[in-house]
């Protein structure tokens, strides 16, 4: 039996060009299907990982998803600000365990700058409730100190002790706060969340660099040197949003209702996990359509394989007759053909997975800017499921030429009819 399979392999190798084309089609189709699935699940995972320890995200009233995307993922359009008094009032609410202010709007060479409090580093949790850790240095303690996310440091080659200047707005060429440089004091370990791409500074620093600014530009004739800023009240009037962790999970709905009905100003409290799920719900149709399309592409690829094998069969009638004369039964002939198709499918899926890995290596960094971390990892259970279904479909597609070869070998016997 092994020798017969070996013979099938040799025969397939002899037709490697035509089979190769079918193989490439299957590989591309499999890569597409696996990529759709990988991006879907990893996007979900990396988004969910980013909000694992936060019970509520609070900001000015806008869209729930908009607020969450901007506050946690620093992407999408900016929301209105909320008042500092509201932050203080909510931070001292009896149900609240911890509260961290977020102030966004500035950037450093394309990376967002987040003004926050040092509590951020203690309180924020990512992934499976893991705390942030420093790969170098320590949290900021002074106004003009900055803590970098791992990717910021890696991409721009910064180390503790380096000086950086922030720019106003996210544009790479926005006006610079050049007069007030920051010292890098800490670099965070990689988290696979937007933290990696963020420059963290003290909330007071955001106020400080804008002391002599108005309306997005420096005030003419007014320049406050960095050494002088401490003389000013650096408490902000407004912040972008706040993150809240609760003492007891059970209070989340009550506090959410409280904040949504807050008297001081119109606020919105979002349960980030809920908002994400709702986002996935609305995206489900898009995902399913993409998935269905790529499944269809796989089906087309496998149909191509069937067509290739069937078309080749006519030219192989003599080969089949020779094998018959040598003692091969219709069963063996059937098996040779089916194995050939299955083999091409399996190689195609394998190649597709390799293509996906190559794609992740080359294109993965691009997706990171949007908070989606594609990890190079062995296929997960759902992807194995896809692999198995591609192989099963490939087997079904190979049964057709196998069955046809069976018929031919029975009809032709030892002398092929042409």
């Amino acid at each position: 039996m092994r020798a017969v399979l070996l013979l099938a392999l040799k025969s397939a190798w002899a037709r490697r060009l035509t089979l190769g084309i079918a193989l490439v089609a299957i590989a591309l189709a499999s890569a597409l299907l696996l990529a759709v699935e990988r991006v879907r699940s990893d996007a979900r995972a990396s988004f969910t990982q980013s909000v694992s320890g936060v019970d509520l995200v609070v900001g000015a009233r806008s869209g729930a998803v908009q607020l969450m995307l901007y506050a946690v993922f620093h992407s999408g359009s900016a929301t209105n600000n909320m008042r500092w008094e509201s932050f203080e009032a909510l931070a001292t609410h009896p149900a609240v365990d911890w509260a961290v202010p977020l102030s966004l709007g500035d950037g450093h060479r394309g990376f967002p700058v987040l003004g926050t409090s040092a509590a951020y580093f203690d309180r924020l949790r990512y992934g499976d409730r893991q705390a942030l850790t420093f790969s170098a240095g320590k949290p900021f303690a002074e106004v003009f100190e900055a803590v970098l996310g791992s990717e910021v440091a890696a991409q721009l080659g910064y180390r503790p002790g380096d000086h950086i200047t922030l720019s106003h707005g996210m544009a790479e060429l926005g006006p610079e706060h050049a007069d007030k440089p920051f010292t890098v004091v800490g670099i965070l370990a990689p988290t696979g969340t937007p933290v990696d791409r963020t420059v963290h500074v003290d909330l007071a620093a955001i106020t400080a660099i804008h002391l002599d600014w108005a309306g997005g530009a420096p005030l003419p004739g007014l320049a406050i040197p960095a050494e002088q800023v401490r003389k000013f009240d650096l408490q902000p009037q407004e912040i972008t949003a706040m993150l809240i962790g609760l003492k007891s999970r059970g209070d989340v709905f009550r506090l959410q209702r409280h904040i949504n009905g807050y008297r001081g100003e119109p606020l919105l409290a979002v349960m980030p996990g809920v908002a994400l799920d709702e986002l996935w719900q609305t995206l489900a149709t898009v995902e399913q359509t993409l998935f269905a399309l790529s499944a269809l592409v796989v089906a087309v690829g496998l149909a191509g394989l069937t067509a290739t094998l069937l078309a080749g069969l006519n030219e192989r009638r003599r080969e089949l007759a020779i094998l018959r004369a040598l003692g091969a039964g219709p069963r063996e002939i059937f098996m040779m053909l089916t194995v050939e198709g299955l083999l091409v499918t399996a190689l195609g899926v394998f190649l597709g997975a390799a293509l996906l890995a190559a794609g992740i290596v080359t294109l993965g960094p691009l997706l990171r800017e949007y908070g989606v971390h594609l990890a190079l990892r062995p296929p997960a259970a759902n992807e194995w499921g896809l692999v198995v279904s591609i192989l099963t479909t490939g087997l079904l597609a190979s049964l057709v030429p196998g069955w046809r070869a069976w018929q031919i070998s029975l009809a032709d016997g030892l002398t092929p009819r042409n």
Binding site: A43, G63, V65, L69, S75, R249, N260, A269, E278, T282
Partner: protein, 163 residues
């Protein structure tokens, strides 16, 4: 690319603020579930119409009977909610607030608290609400639990809250 999809989705659906805002949709109920250290708290809000088929004060004996029947069903927490049996959950308290018929729309608010002996085994909660109230076709659920937060849409075909 993904962020653009996300943004597009945000813009398209708009996601009008605040889930907790009381919007009233016929046939659609809301469920807030907290699963915390061996206790389950379920806050349910059902449009009266989905429960009894009308949403004004009962006009005749038949409607009064329907209302009383609904209240009885809603008080039977052990039948309405079925947490994973292995978790050994038992009803601790039930509060059913029948509508007062003062506003435009009438809602039923109910709260159920369960205590579970073996919270590690708790994996899902099934509801029989849809079997009892045929006009209810959707229960928008928000959950905060051991594996984080989530939203799920329960329907007559999928009446199980899982996490």
């Amino acid at each position: 690319m993904n962020a653009q999809v996300l943004l597009a989705a945000t813009l398209i659906c708009g996601m009008p603020f605040a889930h907790a805002q009381h919007k009233h949709v016929h046939g659609e109920g809301r469920l807030d579930a907290v699963i915390d250290e061996g206790s389950i708290s379920l806050d349910v809000e059902l449009p009266l119409d989905a429960v009894v088929g009308f949403e004004r004060a009962p006009k005749n004996d038949k409607q009064k009977a329907a209302l009383a029947g609904a209240e009885k069903i809603l008080n039977d927490a052990a039948t309405l909610w079925q947490p994973t049996p292995a978790a050994g959950c038992s009803v601790q308290s039930v509060q059913v607030g029948m509508p007062k018929f003062d506003g435009e729309h009438a809602d039923i608010d109910a709260n159920y608290v369960f205590h579970c002996a073996d919270p590690a085994e708790l994996k899902a909660i099934e509801t029989t609400l849809f079997k009892h109230f045929k006009r209810l076709y959707r229960l928008e659920t928000q959950r905060s639990g051991p594996v984080g937060q989530g939203a799920q849409r329960l329907t007559p075909k999928k009446p199980v809250l899982v996490w």
